[in-house]
Amino acid sequence: EAGVTQFPSHSVIEKGQTVTLRCDPISGHDNLYWYRRVMGKEIKFLLHFVKESKQDESGMPNNRFLAERTGGTYSTLKVQPAELEDSGVYFCASSQDNYRVSTDTQYFGPGTRLTVL
């Protein structure tokens, strides 16, 4: 079974440009998450989808970030316009929906390293 995949693995853009990151979760996983690690800091939660619905987007930094998950399969995270402080590694994770427990194992993708110049 394929794991969580992310594309691209690296992206270098200039300030003011737009970048779209993609995440393909493990097949059959209803839950999809985006996290970000800015240099030297902790990995921080951005948002959580259950199927195509945004369950929690409390971690999104500002309205320059837009996440979608049309059809409840893959997800995109668009940054427009990108700023210098957006540089970091963006991780996607997915988990099955398990009603027996409140949280199930989250499986992470390899991340997209974003550099804004």
């Binding site: 996290y35 800091k41 409140s102 989250q106």
Partner: protein, 114 residues
């Protein structure tokens, strides 16, 4: 300090030795998970321990959880050079409803010297 804070920040040992990393957190949790990240790669899930569990084993890994002290430890026995990586604990807060958001610490950088 922040939820899911690991110590030490860095640990260097010789191959064959045991490595112990600790994690402290502040709020009540449902579960605590440990992840590993090799340089430049993604996070690999190692083990999940639920709040009603005290100890869990997986191969050379042993995780303990003390909810009264809000702390966890990860023990890697008979370490290998391939265990060199950053190790993170992640907690999810028991907020009464379904809360899947993980809170990570800054991690412990483990270096195993051959």
């Amino acid at each position: 300090s922040q939820q899911g804070e690991e110590d030490p920040q860095a640990l260097s040992i010789q191959e064959g030795e045991n490595a112990t990393m600790n994690c402290s957190y502040k709020t009540s949790i449902n579960n605590l998970q440990w992840y590993r990240q090799n340089s430049g790669r993604g996070l690999v899930h190692l083990i999940l321990i639920r709040s009603n569990e005290r100890e869990k084993h997986s191969g050379r890994l042993r995780v303990t959880l003390d909810t009264s002290k809000k702390s966890s430890s990860l023990l890697i026995t008979a370490s290998r050079a391939a265990d060199t990586a950053s190790y993170f604990c992640a907690t999810d807060e028991a907020s009464g409803g379904s809360n899947y958001k993980l809170t990570f610490g800054k991690g412990t950088l483990l270096t195993v010297n051959p």
